[in-house]
C-alpha cells in the first residue's frame, strides 16, 4: 500500500533562517506531488505541484521554493523565513495515470512557527 511521510511534525524557526521540509511517498511510481499551506483561520492554499522529476509549477509567488530531486521526494525550501511563512504545511500525492478521478492523499503535516 502507498504511504506518505512528511517531516518534521513541528518546527520553530527564527525570522531570516533557512527552511527545508521533506516529503517522500512509498508504494507508487510517477505520482503528482503537491505542497499546500494552511494559515490560521484560512483554507488550503496550493503552493507548488510537480508532475515529474525536476518539474515544478508555482501557484503563488512568494518566499518559498520547491524541488523534486527524485521521483517520490518533494522538498519545500526557503533561504530566509518571514513571519508570514508561519502555518501548517501539507504534502500530498496523486496517481498520475488516473489523475482526473483520483483523490489527493495527504501527509500529516508540518506545523511551522516563525518567531
Amino acid at each position: 500500500s502507498q504511504t506518505i511521510h512528511q517531516w518534521p511534525a513541528t518546527l520553530v524557526q527564527p525570522v531570516g533562517s533557512p527552511l527545508s521540509l521533506e516529503c517522500t511517498v512509498e508504494g507508487t511510481s510517477n505520482p503528482n506531488l503537491y505542497w499546500y499551506r494552511q494559515a490560521a483561520g484560512r483554507g488550503l492554499q496550493l503552493l507548488f505541484y510537480s508532475v515529474g522529476i525536476g518539474q515544478i509549477s508555482s501557484e503563488v509567488p512568494q518566499n518559498l521554493s520547491a524541488s523534486r530531486p527524485q521521483d517520490r521526494q518533494f522538498i519545500l525550501s526557503s533561504k530566509k523565513l518571514l513571519l508570514s511563512d508561519s502555518g501548517f504545511y501539507l504534502c500530498a500525492w496523486k496517481d498520475r495515470p488516473s489523475s482526473y478521478n483520483s483523490p489527493l492523499h495527504f501527509g500529516n503535516g508540518t506545523r511551522l512557527t516563525v518567531t
Binding site: L46, A92, N101, P103, L104, F106, R111
Partner: protein, 114 residues
C-alpha cells in the same frame, strides 16, 4: 472556471443527531467530487469520492454524500453524530479543466456537543 462553496463555515450538532454539511459546486465539465476530514494538527483524510458512478456515495465512518447534478450539490450526511466526528471538513472538485489540481472549499468546522 470551477469553484466550490461550502455553505456553512461552522455547524454545531448534538451527539446522536444527524449531520448535514453542505457543498455546492460550479463546473464546466463532468465533475469528480471529494469530501475530506481534518482533525486538529493532522493531514486531510479522504472520506468519500464521487466519480460519475452511483450518485449516492458511501464513505468511511458512516458518512455518505449524494451528487445532485440539477442542484450542483454534493452534501455530506451522517445519521448520528459521534464525538469523534468533531473536525473540519473540506469539499473538493476536479472537473477536468486541469488533471493536476483539486479546487477546495473553505471548510466547515463541525462541533459535536455531548
Amino acid at each position: 472556471a470551477q469553484s466550490v462553496t461550502q455553505l456553512d463555515s461552522h455547524v454545531s450538532v448534538s451527539e446522536g443527531t444527524p449531520v448535514l454539511l453542505r457543498c455546492n459546486y460550479s463546473s464546466s465539465y463532468s465533475p469528480s467530487l471529494f469530501w475530506y476530514v481534518q482533525h486538529p494538527n493532522k493531514g486531510l483524510q479522504l472520506l468519500l469520492k464521487y466519480t460519475s458512478a452511483a450518485t449516492l456515495v458511501k464513505g468511511i465512518n458512516g458518512f455518505e454524500a449524494e451528487f445532485k447534478k440539477s442542484e450542483t450539490s454534493f452534501h455530506l450526511t451522517k445519521p448520528s453524530a459521534h464525538m469523534s466526528d468533531a473536525a473540519e471538513y473540506f469539499c473538493a472538485l476536479n472537473s477536468g479543466g486541469s488533471n493536476y489540481k483539486l479546487t477546495f472549499g473553505k471548510g466547515t468546522l463541525l462541533t459535536v456537543n455531548p
